[in-house]
Structures are given as C-alpha cells and as structure tokens.
C-alpha cells in the first residue's frame, strides 16, 4: 500500500542561490584522495558529499553507505560559462528581445493580439489532469462524468496548437530591425554551435549575455511561454556548478589496490583544475588573450561535462583514449538510465531453465523441478481460519515448508531447524509466512522475445522430477518455443490481486484464441495431427484391447458400440472426447468433416479441422468455454500419442523416389517451359512483346520470363498431387497438415525450380553472365538459375551455386527484416500503449482524449470476433 503517490512532476531550472543552498560543500581541491586513500576535505570525494566506503560516516547526515543518499556540493566558477544544452533557448531569447532595452520585440498591438491565448494557455495547464477524480475519496455521480471527459481533450488540443502558433511568432522576431520601445537598431545576432554568440561579428562574453537575460522582464517571458517565477533565463548561464554526490559517481578499487575514478569525477577534476588556473592568471594580471583562452577551455570542459557528444566539439577522452561517458550519455539511448534502468525493471521470485516437452500435463500446467519449487515462495497470510494449516506447514522439515516468517510488525526471520518449532507456536493472525511453491499455484511463464501478450501466460505448477521446465507441446506455439535448448522464465505473482489476475485473466486456457484475429494459437501440431488422423480415418478400426488402451489414456471407462466384427471405429473413440453440444461441418480439400452432437458422422480430423476456420477448438471454446477447450486439447494429445504408438507413420527416402511416369511428365513440363521461355525471347527480339505498364522492354521480358519459369514449379505441384496418392506417407503428412508441404515435396523429388535473388533471376557476376561457364547473354534458363533437378537427384555445381545465391539472399533478408520490424513495433507500441477501453466502450488515451467512440466500430473483442461472426 502506498501512503503517498506522486501526482505530477514539474521540470524547472535551478537558480545559483538555490545551488548554494543545496550545496553542502564548496569544492576547491582538484583531487580526490590523499596518499592513505582517505578523501581530501574540499576535494571531489569530500565526505560531506556522502560516502561510498563501507565503514566511513557521512559528515552531513551521519549515515553510512546504505543509509546516506548523498548530498550535492558546488564549484564556484571564476568566469561564467554557458550551459551548452540551453544555448538554443538563449539564442531564441536574445533574438526575441531588444539589445539595448531588453524588451520583447513585439509592439503593444501584437502583444494584445496574442495575450488572450496566453492567458488561456496558462489556465489550461492549471486544470489539466484532475487527479482528484481518480482518488477514492471523491466518488462522483455518474451523470457528471461525461462532461469532464469531453472537456479534457479540447483543452489539450488547444494548448498544443497555441504553443505552436506562438513559437512561430517568436521565431519571426529574428527579422525585426528596430525595437518598438526604445527605437534601437537591432544588430545581426549569430549563434555558432555549441556555445558561441556573435553580435555584429563581435564575440559576446557569457557575462554580457547573462546581463542581457537578467533584464528581460517576467511579463515579456510569459509571452514567449516561459514562467519567470519558476525559470529565469539568466540561470541558463552557469555561475556555480552543482557537483553531484559521490554516490552517483562511485570510484572503484582495482585488484592492484589502485583507485579508479568515475568518468564524471574525471571531468569535474578537469573543470576545477581549469577554473583554478584561470583564477590564478586573473589574480596575477595575465594578458587578456591568455585569460580568454583559459575561459574558452573552461567552457569546453563544462560543455563536455554535460554532453560529450555535443556536435562541433571534440570528444573528451579518458587516458586510455576511450570517450568519457558524461551526463547526457548516462541518460540517453537503449543502455541509458531511462530505457535500461527506469523502464526496465528487475525482479525477485523468478526462475529460469531449459524447457522440454511433456504431453502428459495439461496445456495450462508447467512441470517445475523440485529444486526451483523449493526456492520460489509465495506469501501465506495467516488468518484465524487457516492458522492450523499454516502451523502444519511450518512444522514440516522438508519440502513443502515455510522458508520465512514475517511478523505483523514487519520483522523478517528465516526459518531453520532451530527456530522452527518455536516460531510455529508463536504465529498469530496477521503474520505473513513465505511458503514454497506447491502443485496448483499459478506462475507466469515467459519466453523472450516477448512479441505479443501470449508470450507471457499463467500456468499451474506441477512439481516434477528433473531439472527442466516441462511444457505441453501444444502450448509452445504462442511462445514460439522449441525444445532444442530454449530457456524460459517463471515469475511468481506475490500479491493476492496478482494471483487472481494470473488465474482468471492470464491463464493459458484463456489465451487459446489469439488476440490478433481470434484463431486458435494453442493447438495440435505434427505428431498429434498424425495420431488423430490415424485414429479417425475411414480404415481405422480397433480391437477391444486397443480401444480400451486408447480411451483409458484419457480416463474414459465406457467403450463406444462395436461394429459387427466386434471392432471399434476410430471416429467413435475420438468422438468420446468431443463435448456433446458440438455440431460442425468443416471442409478441407476433399475431406468433409461432419460432427453432430459431439459425434463424428463423416470424414476424418486433420489440421484444419482442429485449428482452422470454424474448427473444433474454436467451436468448443465458444460453446463450451475455455476449460472444455483446454481439456479437449489435452485429451486429443493423449489419444493421439497412444494412436501413433499403435499405428505409427514413418517416411523414408523411398517415398521421395518418383515412378517413371511422373519423371517423364516432369521432363515434359520442363521442356514445355523452356519452349515457352524461348517464345518470349523471340517475341522480345522481334519487339512484339506487350509491355507491362511502367516497364521497359527489357524489364518486361525479364518479368515475363521469371513468371514463366516460376510457373513450372506450380505445374509440377499439380502433377504431383494428381499422381501420388496419400498412401505415400510423406504425401499423407503434407495433406493432413502434420509436417511438410507439397511445395517442398516437389523441390525434393521433382525440380527445385527457378532461384530468385531480389525477386528476379540471378543477374550479377561476370559481364553478361552469372558464371563463366556460359556464353554471354545465354538464353538457356539454366544460366540464370533455373534448376531442373530436385534434391533427391542432386544438384550439379552450377545449380548448387545458383541455389546458394538464393539462399544467401533470403538469409540476409530475414535478419534485416527483424531489425526493421522490431523498430516498427517499438514505434507502434510507444504511440498506442496508453489506449484503453473506457466504461462506455470508447477508446481513450492517457489524457482522456477520445480515440474511438466505440472500440473497433462495434465494441467487439477481436478474440471473440470469429465466434461472434458465426453466431
């Protein structure tokens, strides 16, 4: 429970006075430690700034390493420097104000024109988020709410347009020649990155600029959009430099006993050193040139202290020539403070190990090694109702037991053999015990990359022997996991709310349908489909013994009716696991599957019947609910496993040898294709080719030829489908969707076909040819990557080369696509992550602005989209 919450955060700049007030130490010594390794007073590791050495005490707050948060110090700069990051803002202000009277270069009329907008601008900001509306204490009547919701986006849009218009006006002030108040001619002002300003060709000193900025009135600043009471522009010039506490720039002691300072400390040392030299030179009355040089050096040191990647400034380097990581670098980018440490959270109560398959557990279970279950804990809140159970747990010496005891007043004690009995006797309602995981606890299971929400699902714990997480094969698809060494993570939800959410919202059985389009993502693959097919095809009959074996695997004890011969039909066995209320008709290829009241009447069950459009899983999920769908998948898997053991399927190389007749027709297809290609070539030569829109003659020829050669493979596909029956096991598995497809069957046993690089035939290499084994501009398809043989027959060295070209291209393409689509996803998610559906079905963003009046136009959940269409 949070006692206080941050409601909003305001960003401002700090005044020199404030810096002095904040500062606990004025840093004057350009050094860190003395010879004994003890911090020097007034040095950069001054003990008033906090402590990093265990054993030392902070001189400001008396805290030790863990309790002292660190304190700021300051460096008094003898000459002002410009804060490099604010240089642009300074330029804007100098340009917008008069050089002699420092008033804004707008006449009274112009000011009157924009003032109303500004008043509105300021007001809008005041009322922006009405946080109180969300506080529990102020429950508002429902009728009042719509008006609030509508008002917010209006204000928001106005604010953004106003500030934009205003900036346009301010930017134009650059061209004003004469001050409307004092009449002074405005000289040309030039800004040179990063921190140099020139007035009429003469360099402006930071103290001149500071004087100028000081004289700009708060009223004029308000016109530019700056609130002078909060941020004064003269604070953009550094007079006193804030020195961060040592805690954020800790030094490390190397093995050799040598101390190594943080980059920031190094940079601060440079600043102090330069500052000191400058002071000495000024006191000694050195010539102006030398002072100016040193001043510029100080400016450089300060610039790189803030941002070591400032454009136009040489990078400050460490002794080892490594560029220093200064303030801006600490915040920026993927490894910066914001994205790496603040948006990325680290957790306790998590575990990680290799995953392996286990089809005997449910899809929403996870097999967990006992070692992990012993280490992960879940809080057990002692109440007067469960105190005896809790005590029982506590007294146990072995798993499952209690590992930690947290008393009512927050005292934590580790349970051990010595204090076990004693603590067990002492517990009372209100205490919290940390209990080891047991069967049935819900944990979150995750595999990276976490591309969609089904990459994190809740599973019930099943403690199993072994050292790997066990995952049901059907549940591996949403995680995109395979079992070749993949590792996955487990997180244990700790609060009761989190456990409830895991159980009722994140549970794997709730995620059977995808949020993408409402199709099943947890479904059967490969062997399971083969098994189901072996069970449900027309010739599948089983003896009583086999039928009993099959059904007992799913815990069904009554047999279906046998036929005349005392045999049991496979479909009847399979029908036993389909809920009675299911009636569907699904078509795939030549197979029509008809199920009436949970009984298969016609057809066999293949992949599309299990997980395709209008499929069993979808139907069971929508009529009988997620639990029934889960049990169906579990049972189907078990049945299929038994049936594959009984009547397994195997393939061998022989399956890929084609009969002579097929070989002959294949040769016909190839020669026909070659002839067609030659026809296109003659047409091209005779300039009779009909041009494709937007294409040159040559390009048209290429495209048409490529298309023609590509078609050869399609023809072969049709031929194969016609001439090879499903008795061929490779073919059968392709047809029912278990493994492989007809396309790769063709490539294996008939012809590999046209290879493609960048979507067209390979073309690069030598002048007019890809390989030197061909004449120039050869029109033989083989010379441009048409492969007439399949993998069984084998490739010759030319084919091999062409194939490698295509393979290299697609491999490169794949790795590039992941980078591009990864960035696309980051952008989409950053743009839309605040959107949620309101109570009224509308979609709102973070500022309550209306994105959609009703989600998706009809308020229907995409998960249930397919279900709703059917009804």
């Amino acid at each position: 429970m949070q006692a206080e919450m941050i409601s909003n955060i305001r960003f401002t700049t700090i005044s020199p006075e404030m810096i002095k007030k904040m500062s606990v130490a004025k840093i004057i010594v350009p050094d860190t430690c003395n010879d004994e390794g003890y911090p020097i007073d007034g040095g950069l590791l001054d003990q008033r700034l906090g402590v990093i050495d265990p054993g030392l005490k902070c001189k400001t707050c008396g805290g030790r390493v863990k309790s002292c948060p660190g304190h700021f110090g300051h460096i008094e700069l003898v000459r002002y420097t410009i804060h490099p990051e604010f240089a642009k803002a300074i330029y804007l202000l100098l340009d917008a104000t008069c050089e002699s009277c420092h008033r804004i270069l707008l006449n009274q009329k112009q000011i009157d024109d924009i003032r109303p907008e500004i008043v509105e601008f300021v007001n809008a900001e005041d009322v922006l988020p009405d946080v109180s509306q969300m506080q529990p204490s102020s429950v508002q009547p429902a009728a009042q709410q719509p008006s609030n919701i509508q008002a917010a986006p209006e204000q928001q849009s106005k604010q953004s347009t106003d500030s934009r218009d205003k900036m346009a006006i301010i930017k134009k002030l650059k061209n004003v020649k004469k001050c409307p108040y004092c009449g002074t001619e405005q000289h040309k002002l030039k800004f040179e990155r990063p921190t140099f300003f020139y007035m009429n060709g003469n360099k402006m000193k930071p103290d001149e600029i500071r004087d100028w900025l000081t004289k700009i009135s708060n009223e004029d600043l308000a016109l530019i959009g700056i609130d002078g009471t909060v941020t004064r522009p003269e604070w953009f010039i550094i007079t006193d430099l804030l020195v961060p506490p040592v805690n954020i720039r800790p030094s490390i002691t190397l093995e050799s006993g040598e101390r190594s300072e943080d980059d920031l400390t190094h940079k601060l040392l440079d600043i102090i050193r330069t500052n000191q030299r400058l002071e000495q030179d000024i006191d000694a009355g050195a010539p102006q040139i030398i002072i100016d040089d040193l001043w510029e050096l100080l400016q450089y040191q300060v610039t790189t202290y803030f941002n070591n990647e400032t454009p136009g400034v040489p990078v400050a380097r460490h002794r080892s020539t490594r560029p220093l990581k200064t303030l801006a670098q600490r915040l920026k980018g993927k490894e910066g403070r914001l994205r790496y440490y603040l948006s990325g959270k680290r957790v306790n109560f998590s575990a990680r190990t290799v995953v392996s398959p286990d089809n005997n557990i449910s899809i929403n279970e996870i097999g967990m090694p006992q070692k992990i279950a012993e280490n992960l804990t879940i809080p057990l809140y002692v109440t007067k109702w469960n105190i005896e159970t809790a005590r029982g747990f506590m007294k146990r010496a072995e798993y499952p037991t209690i590992t930690n005891y947290i008393s009512k007043d927050g005292m934590k004690k580790r349970m051990s053999e010595i204090n076990r009995e004693e603590l067990a006797a002492a517990i009372q309602p209100g205490d919290i015990l940390e209990r080891q995981l047991v069967d049935g606890d819900y944990v979150l299971f995750n595999r990276q990359p976490t591309l969609h929400r089904a990459s994190i699902m809740a599973h019930r714990v099943r403690v199993l022997p072994g050292k790997t997480f066990r995952l049901h094969v059907c549940a591996s698809e949403p995680y995109n996991a395979d079992f070749d060494g993949d590792e996955m993570n487990v997180h244990v939800p700790q609060t009761i709310e989190a456990q409830a959410e895991a159980r009722y919202l994140v549970d794997a059985e709730q995620q059977i349908l995808s949020a993408k389009d409402g199709s099943p993502v947890i479904h059967a693959t490969e062997d399971i489909i083969t098994g189901v097919y072996m069970l449900t095809n027309d010739e599948a009959f089983f003896t009583k013994e086999s039928a009993t074996k099959l059904l007992s695997s799913v815990g069904i004890t009554d047999l279906p009716k046998p036929n005349k011969n005392g045999m049991y039909k496979g479909t009847d066995i399979f029908s036993k696991i389909i809920p009675e209320e299911i009636t569907i008709e699904s078509k795939s290829g030549s197979n029509v599957l008809e199920i009436k009241n949970g009984k298969i009447i016609k057809g066999y069950v293949d992949k599309s019947a299990i997980s395709g459009k209008g499929s069993l899983i979808l139907e069971i999920f929508s009529t009988s609910g997620p639990r029934a769908a889960r049990l169906f998948i579990d049972n189907m898997t078990k049945l299929a496993m038994v049936s594959t053991y009984m009547c397994g399927v195997t393939i061998s190389l022989r399956d890929y040898y084609m009969p002579e007749s097929v070989d002959k027709s294949r040769n016909d297809i190839i020669s026909e294709t070659v002839k067609n290609v030659n026809d296109i070539y003659t047409k091209y030569k005779e300039k009779k080719l009909e041009l494709l829109p937007g294409y040159s003659r040559k390009k048209t020829y290429e495209v048409e030829t490529f298309a023609m050669l590509d078609i050869a493979r399609e023809k072969a596909e049709r031929l194969l489908q016609k001439s090879i029956s499903v008795d061929n096991n490779a073919m059968r598995m392709a047809v029912i969707g278990a493994r492989g497809n007809i396309f790769s069957f063709v490539q294996t046993s008939m012809l590999l076909g046209q290879q493609a690089v960048s979507g067209s035939r390979p073309a690069r290499g030598y002048t007019g040819r890809v390989l030197p084994y061909f004449p120039r501009n050869d029109k033989d398809p083989k010379s441009r990557g048409f492969i007439e043989s399949g993998f069984v027959e084998g490739l010759d060295f030319i084919d091999y080369y062409m194939h490698a070209m295509g393979a290299r291209y697609s491999s490169m393409n794949k790795s590039l696509t992941t980078a591009v689509s990864g960035y696309l996803y980051r952008r989409l998610s950053n743009a839309m992550q605040d959107f949620y559906v309101g109570d009224d079905g509308s979609v709102r963003d973070a500022s309550n602005a209306l994105v959609q009046t009703i989600y998706g136009g009809d308020g229907i959940d995409p998960i249930k989209e397919k279900m709703s269409k059917k009804k």
Partner: protein
Amino acid sequence: MSENKNNFRVAPGEAVGTIAAQSIGEPGTQMVLKAFHQAGVKSNLTVVGLPRIIELVDARKSPKEPLMRIWPQKSDLKKFEKVVELKRKLEEVKLRDVLEKSEENFKNASMSITLKKEKLENYSLTEREVYSRLSKLEGVEISNENHIITIKITKLRGVERSIRDMRVRFINIRNMAISGIEGIGKVTIDQTEDGSFYLVATSNNISGIIDIDGIDKDRIYCNDPFEVMRVFGIEAARNTILRELDDTIRTNGITVSVRHSGMVADTMTFYGNIKSIGRHGVIGSKNSVFARAAYEETVKHFINACVFGETDPLSGVAENILIGKQINVGTGVVRLGIKKEELKKISAKSSKKE
C-alpha cells in the same frame, strides 16, 4: 442472440492500443522486406510488405507508388468503349510521347517538330488536335508546313535570350500535356471478376479528375491518405490508411483483425490531421515529458521541459512504469471508491464485533 452479443464485447480497461501494436508488430517479421512486383500480375502495382506499412505509418507526404482506381459511372460499368473513351479523356499524353523528331534552332529561337503517325494513332489523336493545343501556348508563334510544326519563341521571361533559357522552354514544351489531365500519368484499364471495367492511374491527383464527366465520384479510390484528406477530409483519410494497412497485411498472407489496423489509423488521425507514428508525430506530441524522453531524443525533451517549466501529469503507461506507480490500463484503471459515511458505518460495525 442479443444476450450473446454482450459476451463478445471487449472488456472495459482492455489495453487495446498495446494489443493492436503487438498484433501488427508480431507478424512483421514474416512480411517481405523488399517490395517486388507480383510477377504475372499486370495491374495493381503497389509497394507491398513492410516498406509499405512503414510508409503509411511514417505519414510520408507522397507514396512511392501512387495509385488511383477510377470507376466509370454506374451505367457504363460494363461498356468497354465508354471506358476506353474515359481513358482517352484522362490519360496524360505529353508532346514528346508523339514526337518523331525535334530540332532546336537557337539562332532564331525556334524548334521544329515532326509527329509520328503511329504514336498519334495509339492515343487516337490527330495532328490538328496537337496543333490547336500548341497554338494556345503563350509567347510563341506557331506555323505548320508539310507536317513540320515550327514553334518560335517570341517572348522569353529573361531579358537575355540565353541558350539555357531557350532550352528550358523547349524542354517544357516537349513535356507539355497535349491531351488528358496533367499529372495523371499512364492510365490502364482493368476488369473485376464480375466483368466491370475500371481505370488504374499511377498518380495521386483526385482533385484533378473529380470533376470529369462519366466518373463515379463516390467510388474514386486513392492510396495516398494525404490526397484523400485534401479532397474528402480526415475521416476518409482514416479509412484510406485502414484499408491500405489491411490490404498490405493481407497480401502478405497474414490475418490480422481490422480492429488493429483501425486502431493504428485512428491513432494517426484522431488529432484532426494525419500524424506520423514516431518522434515527430504522435509520440512527439505526447503530454508526458518522461514518455517522450524514454522514446527518443532524451536530452532534448528534458531541456525543453526545463526551459518552459513543463509539468508531467503522469497519466500514461511509460511514465508510471518509470516512477513505479500502477499503470492506468487494464485492471489498473479500476478504482475502488467508498463514501466517507459508509466507511464510518463499517468501522463502527467492526469495532462492535471486537
């Protein structure tokens, strides 16, 4: 049925934005990176795959491959001749498309051209038509002798008659449209499955063709959201983005619910103009300083926030994760409320028990 319908409703609080982003981002890896033209398909030459999605989401001012589908009015849908006539009306033919040869004479600032008969026939134009079109030009004298048309420049914008100026003028004349609508480019005829004809133009110029007779004004389709916005307004542009996204995803063989592409389209358009999904668009105009800084250009956002004394209202997801507060989507939007009087009753009750 009506009872069932409520079962399909999306739950209040559902983080539909994130779901949409994931639904489009997750299959992104399966899409083609480079745009090829579908071999053998003669029409609908559009950029496909990831580049097209990025083009849409970036809100680029003009698409790489603009396209318009123009339908004839309903009565002419199946009449091929009418459609051909319409095509002639629209298709842009430049002077240089029908030239046999052209000679430039800088001495007397003239250019003589001969027209190629076959090419004229191709576009069903006559020499006379070309001549009359040319005679409407300003600042030139035109004469026709023996099928040689001579164009003499009488007035040049510059004071000097430099050869450069003359060349520019001649090139402009050769690039002039002598028939059709300027900027419309090539137009091809296509046919739907049910036999209706329509025209496909590789340009994005709705305003140029919308007033032409014989066109079904309600059915003009353009793949450029900006052009659609200029002519039909923001809602139409929203639908264009939705449709283009959906088509692109579908041609990659991926099924994604339209709700998700619709969410992206609405994100880009609900401000009233088309904003890109990126640092210069939707993300760059977020209310929260932290959300912007965590995305890109971290330092810039913090510095500007300091200069203008901005306040982060901490209402979005990113900033609440950053500071460690509960986020405002999903189950996080649910708040419990209790009236103070009720609270007193409860505490009275519980104290009585004890």
